[in-house]
Symmetry: C2
Subunit: 360 residues, 2 copies
């Protein structure tokens, strides 16, 4: 049995013992909200604070309590059989729990997050896999995976996909890596990724290209985290020059998100830095721009006021202030105005030579 | 120069000749709307009708006319240099066209669709690539692609990705295929795809698994179309049992969409059939269901009344009527209520033995 399996058994044993002694069983769960989050630049991610709530068996909590125990038991079954399940499937499994069945997936998701926080694990460690896939990978990387049939190691060479790419699986815990690349370039859009793949940017710059496809999924963030750490590679983010790119895509990649602080430890990429598009780039490269929308302005002001990550980095505060003053945003495709390959022939090589111009 | 390059030159030459003879230059474009679409079950896709509109150079059309010519010239440049561009990049390229620049991407997209319809090609043939990537592939398939560096053929073995997958590139025209698989299984959700990959369903059933990730992208549809045709493989769709799955995901995969009829010929998969989840499956397998939402009911009624594909297939009419009567929908994950692997151990094998229960 896995270490986690044993911990589940211990906790369940205590609850059973309480019940047998006719004592009300109780579980101590961390409070999961922004008020119970702190950002420690040393650690590099949003971490859970110390606030706890008790879930004690009473008349009013009996259903939630039963659901929590049933779900913990299901998790143990999945762990013991090395099975996988999605959150949606977990919801459907409950349809056989009689009165304790969930009526909406929101309910089962909330209890799954409680269980993650309770055991201080991520749900991937409990055998759950996300609904959405990860990103795509191309370049100087050999991925090691297990052939589940023969038990032998598969070596997947990410330089050998032609115009295609390696699609990151939804669970990446078992993957191993070998690389002599110098850095990882994490790219917001599939179109830009394809351009860099077509022109074999990974070869000329000895790197690994990863397509985020917007806000990166958990699997994608975990993949970059593990790859960067195992192979001691810097991670450079190349995303749109707008508040969404800065605070949703990049901030989530680097330190995680506020409402999932109990798992950020596993999914953040503290070693990531922001290559561009910075507000300074928009000026330096005379990019075509669009006016900031209302929602961009609101997002930027929110970030300056409330985001512990932005607030702890003066360089980011300046960047947000600058983009608000400029009143415009620019996408990574905007370099096309200077020629389709300006981005890979001029912009990226120039920026890569001047990492002091990156944002933290 | 490519055949298409020559056609562009010929058309441009006629316009130039008209101008030199002081005649008003004009382009004949097909009308792109549902009123100009017909469904021919023999051909198997929504096709453009015969209605044409003329775009003649006048005071009021001078800007659109100039933009169309500039974009055709850009396309020719991209073709001649074997470059790629996204629609977004095309929009940015126009920023150097002075007065003829586009203010919004909607404008440049509309003109690109005119150009596709004018030359009766898809924009991929003009060197354009979609913004979004295709789907994922695993199973008994060898993909042949070109190593753009060495010019040698790369052979990509889709049985060798472990828990990962081959990510379909955004342009698939150059790919070649080798396979001894019996069929292609096109799967709606990434989670279900991952379950079938984990349990090597492609091995036990000698097939190719493709993850659609919701409504399939153009690249994904084109990939399935080309693979199915080149290798003479049937394509079975496994999607949710609801009006969205039937008429948006499956119908788009099989015959294309109404507002892009000029390119459906390239992107439809007429050989696709619908394995499930059918309304009958919901009853036969006693799946947990959710009530149809207002939008589901509207979509089903619309399909029965207006969709030429549904209207031409009595079996689909019955299916839509049945789901409306049942008043419920069921997702492909719903099989989890009978055990996580019921879907691959019971449902899929049973259905695959009874193709007469598929929908057309």
């Amino acid at each position: 049995m896995s270490g986690l399996g044993k911990r589940i058994q211990t906790q369940a044993g205590q609850i059973a013992a309480d019940i047998q002694r006719r004592k009300k069983p109780s579980m101590q769960l961390p409070v999961r909200s922004l008020q119970n989050v702190r950002y420690d630049p040393g650690k590099g991610f949003f971490a859970l604070g110390k606030k706890r709530k008790a879930r004690t068996l009473t008349v009013s909590t009996v259903k939630t309590f039963a659901q929590t125990l049933k779900m913990i038991a299901t998790c143990k079954g999945i762990l013991d059989t090395q099975e996988i399940a999605t959150k949606r499937e977990m919801y459907y499994i409950s349809k056989n729990w009689g009165e304790a069945r969930f009526l909406e997936q929101d309910e089962s998701d909330a209890i799954m997050e409680d269980i993650e926080a309770f055991f201080l694990v991520n749900r991937e460690q409990l055998g759950f896999v996300p609904e959405e896939k990860g990103g795509d990978v191309a370049g100087r990387l050999m991925i090691k995976d297990l052939d589940s049939n023969t038990g032998k190691t598969l070596r997947i060479d990410c330089t050998k996909f032609g115009s295609g790419a390696y699609s990151i699986p939804i669970s990446v815990e078992e993957l191993g890596f070998e690389t002599k690349a110098r850095f990882i370039l994490a790219i917001e859009t599939a179109g830009m990724f394809q351009r860099l793949v077509k022109h074999r940017f990974w070869e000329t710059h000895n790197c690994i290209l990863i397509s985020l496809g917007g806000v990166p999924t958990r699997a994608c963030r975990r993949f970059i985290r593990r790859l960067g750490e195992d192979c001691h590679l810097p991670v450079y983010a190349f995303v749109d020059g707008d508040p969404y790119g800065y605070s949703n895509i990049y901030r989530t990649l680097k330190v995680g998100s506020g409402n999932a602080a109990h798992i950020n430890e596993f999914f953040c990429v503290p070693r990531a830095t922001f290559l561009g598009v910075t507000p300074q780039d928009i000026e330096d490269y005379q990019l075509p721009t669009h006016p900031l929308k209302e929602v961009d302005i609101k997002r930027a002001k929110d970030a300056l006021k409330n985001d512990p990550f932005i607030k702890s980095h003066p360089a980011w505060q300046k960047a947000f202030q600058k983009i608000l003053e400029m009143g415009v945003r620019a996408e990574q495709q905007a370099f096309a105005a200077h020629g389709l390959n300006h981005v890979l022939e001029v912009y990226l090589p120039e920026k890569l030579k001047r990492p002091e111009r990156f944002l933290p």
